[in-house]
Symmetry: C3
Subunit: 356 residues, 3 copies
């Protein structure tokens, strides 16, 4: 009863959030997940395409995912009102069988791309062009890409902060992705657009990060490395990390292309999705499985406790209201927080003008 | 600390609620249960009659059910103030032993009838005539009646809604009480008084419900059936279901007489009591035990998850404020909600006039 | 997220609270505990002395106790800002390495005395003279004194109430400390100063309390006994209990000298610390260990359930707002509640004048 309530001030609503991994919604199952404080049911039609409806019957508010499939339609478990895949009531078994006015369930626009099912929770018309192109995830075939999902007891912006400021990695993580102290002193180069913030670091280290070194010509030798990360709204961070040796350019790097994306469940809990694709050893299914499991376990064991510890210390106070001491490594994440806030304010102003 | 608080707007207070099954309060035990947000202790005097006191010492607020019986009196565990069965302090072991002014515990009027202990939580004088006559529960002897108790994480009105609209039974429940699709299309006949709402359905099906069919002359043949249910305040629903074949009238039906009654623990948790009496196979103790267990398990496994799922989706928003889509099968439960609201408003107006 | 927030009206802030038993903070460990709603980290410097810092990095609010020791300094686990033992930032590994303004952690004054680490949470200058002298705890050597810690789900004042009114002991506790009904009728003699409330009981019983009787000349014979307890702010109660026989005065009693002290974790949870020192059988390590364990178990099994039961019945309502029926045995605890309230109001008035 004490769950935080949905407030327009905290979420960008007209945007694409990941609702689920494609692999989470399979067969005849009625998948359900709370997104932006709203219960959503997702299932696949007979043609395999996914559909999303509010997980609440408009009659007496029973969760629809408890209901029964009848082909591509869903019959509510409680009184058997039936809804089609766009939420229109198609059958009322009661009395004279008339469909009452308003007996519809809200449908949410979906896009299935790059291994994820993306959902549009806002009231404005869904705009597919607002989903960035993450197609490089699919460039190396199925044995060179992995996906995972984690639930975190923290506000989604704390997850974005964590990835936007990679200066934490030598302190929080172990040998496997260590920059051997080379990253922290670097001030990343920031690039901004009206809907993105990017940071780029370049440095040398010896040997290269252990996730990359074995695939370089001289695994023990010095390598040039880079991180390039780009945040796009609402909460995507595309991260590329690579290493080269000798005369090669970064375009020829041994690298991986990752996507971190965070979907608020509530103000204080988040669905954290992650995908990683590499351009080397691309037919090694065993290495692929080990790699995504290792990254999942790292987030759970190393980032997770820090992020949830920060959430507990922050309580329900706004980040800036706590007067954080900010440093050179905070430029990227602070720009992201400010741009997101600006986009939310613009969205609210739009809504206000429409309501006049 | 975040428990919902007691508000006059939500409960009818001057009314009889079931506090416990008679069988729950036995021997020397100090039974306790929270009712309408108030902790109550119930115990039986040496003559077997039950008494109810607020479960809180007026001295330092220790729960009295942690105390010790001294005959029909209760000694608080903390500092041994002793109270008699109407809540008057009879002994103070401290200092000069004077009984301080106001050292009394509120006693609640009780009636023990039909296998239940009923409690009156309001400030007005308890009126035994406001307890409906459920004596038919006792008409067939001890081997033809069963009682059970369930705790549900839902507002009590959701339980009333569930029983008042029996059109859900073919969808939620299994074969045993199926109407084979015959009930949903029927619009029940509604009868109202100033303190009751009744619904009656009549239909034919073949075979009859499996709870009744074996006791009919021709178990596999078509039967005429009826449901007759009557809500009375605050939250009782007396339900009769019967079946007949051939020339017999419904008065001669193979039937059962049930009572569903819901007592708020808090706004979001409810004590659900149920009794069922049948007029057939009345000396079969084994069948009797099996039947009440089966009904208990059905409520827990089938109604319970739906009702608590609805509660989660509704949160703390009022039912009508959620703009439910209402249909022909909702006439009965909606009339109940409106009549209960009217009775609560009348009670509050009475209190207001008395306080002027 | 629903934890009660820190309000000046409820805690005396400029006072010494026990933060930990000395034995709880050992070696290189970074101990942490929430005190007056604030997370605190405590650790011992290389010279053995304890230091306390707010357990929250000023950069991004990670808990510092998750960090790493570097000598007597602590490096935050998240981004490796390093702080010395008084909370000054000494190292920033990011960018040009400048220490940002304000990158300091609040340090809390500590005193380590009598087996406890005491903390000063207020904004005024810590005043060591405000810590009462509990040195008698150390008067009989290490085999005659024991310490323990308990966590209780109750407001700290309910723990103070419990110890300030010893008339409960015959009702709540067993034979071992029974006064055989002699204590309750006694009205204790109360003594007050501007910063203390004391109560003293004297009586005869046969035999003496079983914690004392075996050490008397005639264990089965009548003895004269006394309790002498003194509350000092914020929440210390020093309790002495003794017994004598024959011509001896109470100064020559077989006695124990105890300290009960309660530190609010939040408004509704408390750190309860206890120490007991005896003046008899002072070289018996085995008896000593048994005795502190027995007292710990008694608090947990007998006082604990009553105190937490009272808390549940009181909810978040103020004690006096519930109109308690007060008696002769409440004079001591009520004076303590009123004096504490007066001291808190004076503290708030001081703060108000300073802010003008």
């Amino acid at each position: 009863m004490n769950a935080p309530t949905h407030t327009n001030t905290r979420y960008l609503e007209n945007a694409w959030y990941v609702a689920a991994l494609s692999s989470e919604v399979q067969g005849q199952a009625l998948f359900h997940r709370k997104i932006l404080d709203i219960s959503v049911m997702i299932y696949r039609l007979s043609d395999g395409s996914p559909t999303a409806l509010r997980d609440r019957c408009p009659h007496r508010f029973a969760p629809l995912h408890m209901g029964k499939r009848e082909g591509d339609e869903i019959s509510c478990f409680y009184h058997a009102l039936r809804f089609n895949s766009v939420g229109t009531c198609t059958h009322n078994p009661h009395g004279n069988g008339n469909i009452p006015d308003g007996a519809n369930v809200r449908a949410f626009p979906l896009l299935e791309r790059h291994g994820f099912i993306w959902i549009w929770m806002g009231e404005q018309t869904a705009d597919p062009d607002l989903l960035p192109d993450f197609s490089p995830l699919e460039d190396s075939g199925p044995n060179a890409v992995g996906y995972t999902y984690m639930h975190m007891d923290a506000n989604f912006e704390l997850i974005v902060d964590n990835v936007m400021d990679l200066s934490h990695i030598d302190h929080v993580h172990g040998e496997i992705i260590s920059t051997r102290g080379k990253l922290s002193p670097k001030i990343p180069k920031i690039r901004s657009t009206s809907r993105s913030i990017s940071s780029r670091w370049e440095w040398e280290q010896q040997p290269a990060m252990l996730i990359l070194a074995p695939f370089l010509p001289a695994p023990d030798a010095e390598a040039r490395q880079y991180f390039d990360i780009t945040w796009t709204p609402p909460a995507n961070i595309q991260l590329s990390v690579g290493a080269v040796q000798g005369e090669l350019s970064f375009d020829e790097a041994v690298m991986q292309y990752d996507l971190h994306t965070a979907t608020p469940e509530t103000q204080f809990t988040t669905h954290y999705f992650f995908a990683t694709r590499r351009n080397h050893d691309t037919d090694n299914a065993e290495y692929n499985a080990m790699k995504i499991k290792a990254m999942h376990d790292t987030f759970e064991a190393e980032d997770g406790p820090i992020i949830t510890g920060v959430q507990r210390e922050m309580g329900d106070t706004d980040f800036f209201d706590l007067n954080p001491v900010l440093m050179s490594n905070d430029v990227g994440p602070v720009r992201v927080r400010k741009l997101l806030r600006k986009l939310i304010e613009e969205e609210r102003a739009d809504d206000y003008h429409k309501s006049e």
